[in-house]
Amino acid sequence: MASITETAKKLCEISQKAYLNPYTYINWRDEMPKEQWFMTPELISIFGTSEYEALNESQRQILSFYEATNFFSLNIHGEKSLVEGIAHRLYSKELKEFAAYLHHFLDEENKHMIYFGGFCQRYAGKVYRNRKMEIPREYAKGEEDFLFFARIMIFEELVDVYNIRMSTDEKLEPIARQINLVHHLEEARHLVFGRLIVEHLFEKYSPGWSAQVLQNCKSYLSNYIVSTWKEYYNPDVYADAGIADPYDMVEKAWNCESARKHRAKVSSKVVEFLKERKMIDEEPAL
């Protein structure tokens, strides 16, 4: 516990020094021509399919604009539920000693949504809708907090791989690249805290759970990795980019062998983390 408390203190100091004004950090341009790269081509969800191969460079760039808008939109939805959950737990008995860092967490996640929303609203005129839905249920002691922070960690670990790759991709339109960079720099701190709090909650509560609760948690996390990936395959994006049969495209892209390998590779670090700590038993069905 001492190490996580100390780490949270250090993260607070770094967050204070790195404090950014989200309203001046990005120099938004008025117009955004779509015929440039907004997403690294290899990260586009239909990359590797015959449909992607059939597109010319200009069509691929336009698709990259809508894919980036989807990537930013799914970040907004993920961070909205994160902010709700953190705000709900702020100064709770379980987490009160981390309250100072949770304030930074909230502040930085809110800023990320300002960047993502700024791009989506200005240039696409919309945020893509969310299709994820949680059904309320009963939890064992500590299970809900553990799953909440584990969800955050999984979501952020996957997003961060994309952020790192795109923050250094010189092909990308500068604002898209800058948003990926700032997100990665701040998420790096959240990930340090996330891994520690997930371990702490699991070690504290899982010994008191029944075998069934523990198995349900493991299955849930494995399935959560899969459902997080499914958000990257959005028929609304394909429709906007002019791809025929957008719902069929979702299935084709998901089942494409190179996409499966890509998902497994991007997920490998977080899957290894969860497996090593016995938080999941099996590889997710990616």
């Binding site: 809708r129 839905m133 299955s219 849930y220 499914k230 609304d236």
Partner: protein, 91 residues
């Protein structure tokens, strides 16, 4: 919109596939509680929403949905596919 029986069969086939084939078709009745009995998980609802959009040809607004709409095949059909009550807000 396709006839009710055909839509329900499409839904039944999707649920059985999503369940990994552990439930037999004859065990999955129109009023079998699919979430409560863990035949599908809440994480698979996103996929189910995509299927419903494909069937109905209309986008769904998750923020307007109530959890009860996904209780069983009957409630899904009634809330999303019947001509009188589309959109999923009535469960």
């Amino acid at each position: 919109m396709k006839p009710e029986a055909e839509v329900k069969e499409t839904l039944r086939a999707w649920i059985i596939k999503a369940n990994g084939g552990k439930i037999k078709p004859e065990e999955l009745l129109d009023d079998t509680p699919i979430i409560e009995e863990r035949i599908i998980t809440s994480l698979q609802i996103m996929d189910l929403i995509l299927q419903l959009e494909k069937i109905t040809g209309e986008p769904l607004d998750v923020e307007q949905l109530k959890p009860g709409v996904f209780k069983n095949i009957d409630t899904i059909y009634k809330n999303f596919c019947s001509e009188n009550n589309r959109g999923g807000g009535e469960a």
